[in-house]
């Protein structure tokens, strides 16, 4: 054994490499046609990467172990400056590998990114701070047949869905891990892509472009059902929308998983004032509260899977500064907000997530 302490026993780097490869490799199982192609391509790239990684790391480990300076090494080793042939070899071979990967990549891209003329279902996904809604479009791709405000998109299995992406505010991204696919939602530009789901199921999706303070809450689900179930569902939604003034979202499962929230703080005491939100609006837009005493605002969020809160401003103008900012939470749920004592006056209250939701609080 040499004088220098060997960094690691020989097998440890190898063992780590194997473990690493096992851990690094696994994509989720793709559930769309396009996703399956991406998954195959990924596997090829991964295979090449793994071979290169093991080979080069092995060279490093070998050099480190084999060429340690030993006590007898006083004379210099051979002062090799280089080798042109080797330079050519390790330029040409990577170039060839790169060329192959590029060609495979381009072919898959053309297949995945193709937007077909013949689509069966047309949906517009609307991404806004901080939620998703889905508009089901008629044959012409323009007229909205039904607008789903809860973040659940129903699609039929085996049929081509053309998804148009629209944002009225900042850049978001439509991302479904099990599609192995995402596309940005850019304000001022409507991105479009096709997908065809192969397997029925419920797939979670999430915004994948930082869009502000509730970016992590901007989740949605894709429900892939059989063609018949899809037709029936759509028909039911359209008729439900015609029958009642505002279709209730209570029927659909609250599928989006809200991030874990801490329990609401205990009520401040004093009188309790009720307010609720539904259909991205406050159901009571005129509230009153007693002056100079803390009170509890009992806020019920009736929009399943949609985040809301109540934010009381310092004046009657909805653009004025914040006086009280309640916790944002997704429905269907209730929170008790402890509001500190307020001076008599008129104050605006809004929802921080949907600033178009406005109401007036009169304190006297």
């Amino acid at each position: 054994m040499s004088n220098a302490r060997i960094r690691l026993p020989r097998f440890v780097p190898l063992g780590l490499a194997v473990v690493a490869l096992l851990v690094a490799g696994c994509t989720p199982q793709a559930v769309t046609r396009q996703g399956a192609e991406i998954q195959s391509l990924y596997n090829i790239v991964f295979g090449v990467a793994a071979v290169i990684f093991v080979f080069v790391e092995a060279l490093i480990v070998y050099a480190v172990l084999r060429y340690r300076r030993k006590p007898g090494d006083t004379a210099l080793p051979v002062q090799t400056h280089g080798n042109n042939l080797l330079e050519v070899v390790w330029t040409v071979i990577p170039t060839a590998i790169v060329a192959v990967l590029f060609v495979l990549s381009w072919q898959t891209l053309n297949s995945v990114d193709s937007v077909s003329v013949q689509t069966d279902v047309r949906i517009r996904a609307v991404a806004q701070r901080f939620q998703w809604s889905f508009e089901y479009l008629a044959e012409d791709g323009q007229q909205v047949v039904f607008k789903q405000i809860t973040p659940e998109m129903y699609v039929p299995v085996g049929q081509t869905v053309k998804l148009t992406l629209f944002s009225p505010d900042v850049i978001h991204a439509f991302y479904v891990p099990q599609f192995l696919f995402k596309r940005d939602v850019v304000p001022g530009k409507e991105n479009v892509f096709d997908f065809t789901v192969d397997q029925p199921g419920v797939y979670r999706g999430q915004c994948a472009e930082l869009c502000g303070v509730a970016h992590d809450a901007m989740q949605f689900t894709v429900h892939a059902v059989s063609r018949d179930e899809y037709q029936a569902w759509l028909k039911q939604q359209v008729e439900g929308a015609k029958a009642t003034p505002a279709p209730s979202a209570a029927g659909s499962p609250a599928a989006s998983a809200a991030p874990g929230t801490t329990p609401a703080p205990p009520a401040a005491g004093g009188p309790t004032i009720d307010v609720s939100a539904a259909q991205i609006a406050f159901e009571q837009t005129e509230l009153s509260a007693p002056a100079n005493t803390p009170f509890t605002l009992k806020f019920t969020n009736n929009d399943a899977g949609v985040p809301h809160n109540v934010l009381i401003h310092q004046g009657a103008d909805a653009a004025s500064a914040t006086f009280f900012d309640g916790e944002i939470f997704s429905g269907v749920d209730t929170r008790l907000y402890p509001v500190p004592a307020m001076q008599p006056g008129t104050y605006a209250f809004t929802c921080k997530v949907h600033p178009n939701m406005v109401g007036t609080l009169t304190v006297k």
Partner: protein, 562 residues
Amino acid sequence: MATTAMTPAASAYRAGLYEWLTTTDHKKIGILYLVNSLIFFFVGGLLALAVRTELAMPGIQFFKEVVYNQLFTMHASFMLFLFVIPILAGFGNYAVPLMIGAPDMAFPRINALSFWMLPLAGILMATGFLTNGGAAAAGWTSYSPLAEKAYSGMGTDLWIVAVILIGTSSILGAINFLVTIFKMRAPGMTMFRMPIMVWTMLVTSVLVLLATPVLASALIMLFIDRNYGGHFFDPATGGNAILWQNVFWFYSHPAVYIMVLPAMGIVSEVLPVFSRKPLFGYKAFVFATAGIGALGFSVWAHHMFTTGSVYLPFFSLMTFLIAIPTGVKMFNWIATLFRGQLTFSTPLIFALGFVSMFLIGGINGAFSAVVPVDFAIHDTYWVVAHLHYVLFGGSVFGVFAGVYYWFPKMTGRMLNEGLGKVQFVLMFVGVNLTFFPMHQLGLVGMPRRIADYSSAAGWNDLNLLATVGSFIIGASMLPFLWNVFISLSSGKPAGDDPWEGNTLEWATSSPPPPYNFDRLPEIRSERPVFDLRHRPRPESADLQLAAEASAAPESAGPAGHH
């Protein structure tokens, strides 16, 4: 240990606070860069620990999203703009004039100005935390429209001004480096006899010169949008949201080479010294570095593959092509080790850490070059894994290799080897434990920049593991700081050339006199000090220099009078 230096005529150091505040000496300015950058490294590191602490478990425990978004934005901004880029400029500042046999940089006062803009900018950026709306929170990439006035506060304006200041500092530094390298090399040092560190600083400076002004233009346009009613990036009034990304990434992609090329230069200095062989393929290295610099300008839109606004095949191809010169470097480094005689001093260990982990970072980056795969992994934790392997596993390990390598030259004292190795082990384990699981997290769908995640997603264990790793990284800083603290006062005296180095900085005292050199050995290869030690020529002054050095290393008489 052979010494190959001349004893300087003047005393080595002017000291005192006033000297440090007003110095134009490139060596002191280099050290100032190092210290300032390390301070921001620690601040950025604490922000990272805050981020990891919040992410360790599902649920919001410590930082609500509004704060969390500031934490990761400022973590990245401090790390990239106030640590990585400046510390490498600092090493360049210290080493380049010495390595080319020059007495200082071309414009010493501008050099000082470049430095002092940095703490100012850092403080400016940090004051964002004290404003009403908090610090900048749109990510270090500051995409519009999120970075527009409607969605952000004054912290973003402070951030913009700070980055403009830092960019200006960089550009002035680049001008300084280029003039110094082109015009002030010692006689005999042709371009192809310059140390690779100098070459990497040259290419880096070209990148800074050409790319950073474009960032300045982008930031100014954003500032005008935010404060003067501009409509560059505002889609509602005819502006273009993607325009920001194009102008921003036109700088920020070359920027990542700015962040790694000098570290590669450091590794290329360390590996030959501790293998007792020359760098394998010096010329190939030079061309590969230049190739990376040039190609680096052609790939920026690979950060924008999912925007739907990019000509995908071109940028994919160019991104693949960059892998080739990078691979050439990797193989040349390994060939340097082959048939060498390796001494595992701390600089070498960190350099080996660089090589093995930059390999991982380069490979996982190649996945993103495959556009359809990028559709899956873009903006997920896969990218976080990639960028930290190249920046931490790469640049930071290169930085510490440089610290351990040149600390003796800068201070005249050796850092403790045992503590250095402890730091390495903790850092190496920590980096891998933190960032390797992120590959998997990205693949299964965890997006970037989220303060919280749902327990139902199944990401809990890997996140907890990554957090544990991050605290191990934090712990690794303790032996480092202790090492610096004790070595400054009681480290082993280094002498002129403790490592049997190859390049000119080892031909003068440690620390060097203000004017760097009394005399220089003859320069006839890229390893002038190696030549002086092993094959001095009778016709030149080399033999005399070598004789002087070995006969009376402690003599303090004036040199050059015979």
